[in-house]
């Protein structure tokens, strides 16, 4: 590649580089999404059980998510947080709002002494996280120009 490329060529090379990154986010693999959704569901569902289990479930989920992200980064060569690209960011924000509503519902369930509330909320969390994770991949790849 030469130093004296035209502005249009330079912009095309930027698009090509971004497409290379987008290609690293595999749309066909469900492994990451399923593990991610399961860990999120465990963090919520654990609160249906007596005191130490809820806290342990949250700690297990947080440590698991950190390990998952790091393992995937080592495997693909890229670490991408959900908040990085502008359009894909909105998928993460949407999931974040759902999770905030779920957490408030868990707290409300505890105050009303309805121990079982976290269980259906865990199922909702699993589905929401899975849908958001799959959608995020699609939006990110489209944003990076991957067909």
């Amino acid at each position: 590649m030469t130093e004296d490329q035209t502005p249009a060529e330079a912009l095309a090379s930027i698009s090509a580089a971004r497409t290379a990154v987008g290609g690293r986010v595999d749309e066909k693999s469900w492994t990451y999404d399923l593990i991610y959704s399961s860990l999120a569901a465990v963090m919520i569902g654990a609160h249906a059980f007596p005191s130490p289990i809820g806290v342990l479930g949250s700690v297990f989920g947080i440590v698991g998510l950190a390990l998952l992200v790091r393992t995937w980064a080592d495997r693909t060569g890229v670490l991408i947080s959900g908040l990085k690209p502008p359009r894909a960011r909105w998928v993460s924000v949407g999931l974040g709002l759902v999770l905030v509503a779920v957490i408030f519902s868990v707290i409300a369930g505890r105050q009303l002494e309805l121990w079982w509330v976290p269980l259906p909320l865990a199922a909702i969390t699993f589905v929401a996280a899975l849908v958001a994770s799959r959608l995020w991949r699609r939006v990110y790849r489209a944003e990076m120009g991957v067909r």
Partner: protein
Amino acid sequence: MSRVPQFDPVIHAPGRLQICAILSATDEAEFAMVRDAIAVSDSVMSKHLKQLEDAGYVRLRKAALDGRQRTWLTLTAAGGTAFAAHVAELQRLATMTAPEPLGQGFSG
């Protein structure tokens, strides 16, 4: 992030432009992944990174994995701002130099 068009001679070189493009779309990218994506040798890649690091645009982090040392690259806030401004300038120049559609400006 500033979008005021501004040409940046450090970023302008094709290899460095592509490195910044990749890093702007990630939080961290591994040396080998970026090198392969822009199709350069280890030494050329290291030279580009040295210039970007000296300008304060890229931060390097070393981490061991399975006994091998791997280098992770991050675009700094200053690098992100400079890259956005440079892309805005390229877009401005591309618009200026784009050929006019046939018939435009013709009055006959």
